[in-house]
């Protein structure tokens, strides 16, 4: 078990290195750099080419590419993300509060998705090919089709016009004021959770349909077990694994990929930070964000595989 985890962790290194190289080069291909971006917004500060070059020197942008990369890697090895090129403050500081917001939102959305997907999927499978099944399928396909940012706009619209109420606009961490925190985050979590429940629901439905045809279910029925007990004790346990996989893998992407939803709900999460960083050509910050999301994704992947083997003893690690 331990050696399996170690082996998997070691296998993450080349992938992460690949991600690092890709984002490093991608950013350098983008026309313009942070100095130019700043020059465009606050023209007075860097009037001459000379001053701009001085600024580049200070940021290390005049160094050859391999050295810039080596410096970055050396920092990463010490878990030091360095300074933001735009604000000059430590990146870990920049990210901290936004990470808390994005993490909480991702957790809430995944919870909502799970709570919707499992019962709906079971219901659709048990009532297969009835109007219940069709309704659930339409509900979930509609969820896939509705952009969560549009759902967000509609939610805000309804709250404004019908309830004359607006969720708080400033983020309060949950440990400061849980009520304000939830009043703000529950809406985006619902909009995103509904959308992501769709994949889970469909997965739950098909996994359940497969399991319900197994012999041991027939046996359970034959011995007169109540349907509820068959579903929860026998069927669900065997059908739930793929659903949990889908939802947890999406969790990693919810962490950094909610760019548009954050925009609609005016949330300062990692997604918005990413857009800001890229438009400011803030190389260090963009790189740090990409590495963060990629690492979380790979770790979640590993966690899912471990959970699989733990939940299903038939699966062995290789």
């Amino acid at each position: 078990m331990a050696s399996y985890i170690l082996k998997r962790l070691a296998a993450m290194v080349p992938t992460l290195l690949g991600v690092a190289v890709l984002i490093f080069l991608l950013l350098r291909v983008v026309p313009g750099d942070v100095v130019e971006a700043r020059y465009l917004t606050q023209g007075s500060q860097f009037q001459s080419q000379e001053l701009m070059n001085q600024e580049r020197q200070k940021l290390g942008l005049d160094q050859p590419l391999w050295r810039q990369f080596a410096t970055w890697m050396a920092g990463l090895a010490r878990l030091d993300f360095g300074l933001s090129m735009w604000t000059s403050s430590p990146i870990s500081e920049e990210i901290k509060l936004r990470f808390a917001l994005s993490l909480q939102l991702a957790l809430m959305a995944s919870t909502i998705a799970t709570l919707l997907a499992i019962p709906l999927g079971i219901l659709a499978a048990v009532k297969q090919d009835t109007w219940v099944d069709y309704a659930v399928r339409v509900f979930s396909i509609a969820g896939l089709a509705t952009p969560s940012f549009w759902l967000g706009i509609l939610m805000i619209l309804v709250m404004l016009t019908v309830f004359k109420w607006m969720p708080p606009v400033v983020f309060t961490p949950i440990w400061v004021n849980p009520w304000d925190n939830l009043a703000q985050l529950i809406w985006p979590a619902l909009a995103v959770g509904y959308r992501y429940s769709a994949v889970g629901t469909r997965m739950m439905r098909s996994a359940m349909l497969e399991v319900l045809r197994e012999d041991y279910i027939r046996t359970a029925r034959a011995k007169g077990l109540r349907l509820k007990l068959i579903l929860t004790r026998h069927a669900l346990k065997n059908a739930i694994l793929p659903v949990l996989t889908v939802i947890s893998l999406e969790f990693a992407f919810l962490l950094g990929g909610l760019v548009v939803t954050e925009q609609v709900f005016n949330l300062n999460g990692l997604g918005m930070l990413f857009v800001e960083a890229i438009s400011r050509r803030d190389y260090t910050l963009t790189q740090a964000l990409v590495m963060l999301v990629a690492t979380v994704f790979l770790l979640v992947n590993l966690a899912v595989d471990i959970a699989y083997a733990w939940l299903d003893p038939r699966i062995r690690y290789r």
Binding site: L27, L144, L154, L209
Partner: protein, 298 residues
């Protein structure tokens, strides 16, 4: 090929394929949801092709006398902050959505399936390297990868197609590769090799046609997603640019700003996106069921 198929069918005791009209009737009867999806898709294609005839106004024509006008007989879905007719813009928007959606999913699916088949065909070290590179792309959220590509290439419809297609390549490649691995072991591939055909010919003529079902399934699944991604990018101001009529773009800026006083600006373009993607997903689902018996939900 046709003869072999015929012979196979007779051997397996499968009856002759019925005519397309009765096949269509069969599809409608057996897959009501798929039929609804197909109808929505057809309506969208119709709107996109015939936008010039259907739309009551020029989608770019501004009318400062009728800014933010509520829906009425003159403007069925109201007007936006520049007095442009929302209905006309929604109709013309289907052009943008379909162009970008079709372009991106065609490009993504063909590049992805080529890489997937080649990776499976060559196997060994090539396969390993290709898979590792795909892993790297997998570790990015789709929208982030698309944003990065837009940052490199700039905005505009053509670049948006590329930006959406690139994140789709590794996903398609992975699915197609797994199907192609099975095809590679088929005797007819050995036969082709023994015949002395080159790798390119074997990949294109012998392997690709035999993994067409998963490719088609992936491509239709991508279509809906591509339309959504285009809307998201345009909504962020990083996709199609003003004044082009695009659904995501219509939801940007003034639509949110005036959401309370002029809700039609926010409601109808979003409805168009949902309906369009809904149609493609329903249709794609049924297509998958019809094409791939293994995935059929009985």
């Amino acid at each position: 090929m046709a003869v072999t198929r015929e012979a196979l069918r007779q051997l397996a005791g499968i009856e002759q394929r019925p005519g397309w009209l009765s096949a269509l009737a069969d599809f409608i009867r057996r897959r009501p949801l798929g039929t609804i999806g197909a109808a929505i898709v057809l309506a969208m294609v119709f709107a996109a092709l015939g936008a010039g005839f259907i739309a009551p106004y020029d989608p770019l024509e501004t009318d400062y006398g009728a800014m933010l006008a509520a829906p009425d007989a003159a403007h069925w879905l109201g007007t936006d902050a520049f007095g442009r007719d929302v209905l006309s813009r929604v109709i013309y928007g289907s052009r943008t959505a379909l162009t970008v959606g079709l372009g991106a999913s065609l490009l993504g699916a063909s590049l992805g399936s080529l890489i997937g088949v080649a990776s499976a065909y060559f196997g060994g070290r090539t396969d390993l390297v290709v898979q590792r590179v795909m892993d790297v792309f997998f570790a990015f959220p789709v929208i982030i990868l698309a944003l990065a590509v837009v940052a490199v290439l700039g905005t505009g419809a053509g670049n948006v197609i590329l930006a959406i297609a690139i994140p789709m390549v590794p996903r398609c490649a992975r699915v197609v590769r797994s199907s192609a691995l099975a095809v590679r072991e088929m005797p007819y591939i050995d036969a082709a090799r023994a015949e002395g055909f080159g790798s390119l010919r074997i990949i294109l003529r012998h392997m690709l046609p035999n993994v067409m079902a998963p490719i088609l399934i992936m491509a239709t699944a991508f279509l809906g997603e591509a339309i959504l991604l285009e809307a998201s990018l345009s909504f962020l101001g990083l996709g199609v640019q003003e004044p082009t009529a695009a659904w995501g773009l219509m939801l940007r800026g003034a639509a949110v700003q005036f959401a309370e006083s002029a809700p039609w600006m926010a409601i109808f373009p979003g409805l168009a996106i949902s309906l369009g993607v809904f149609g493609f997903n329903l249709f794609g689902d049924s297509l998958r069921d019809a094409l791939d018996p293994r995935l059929r939900t009985q």
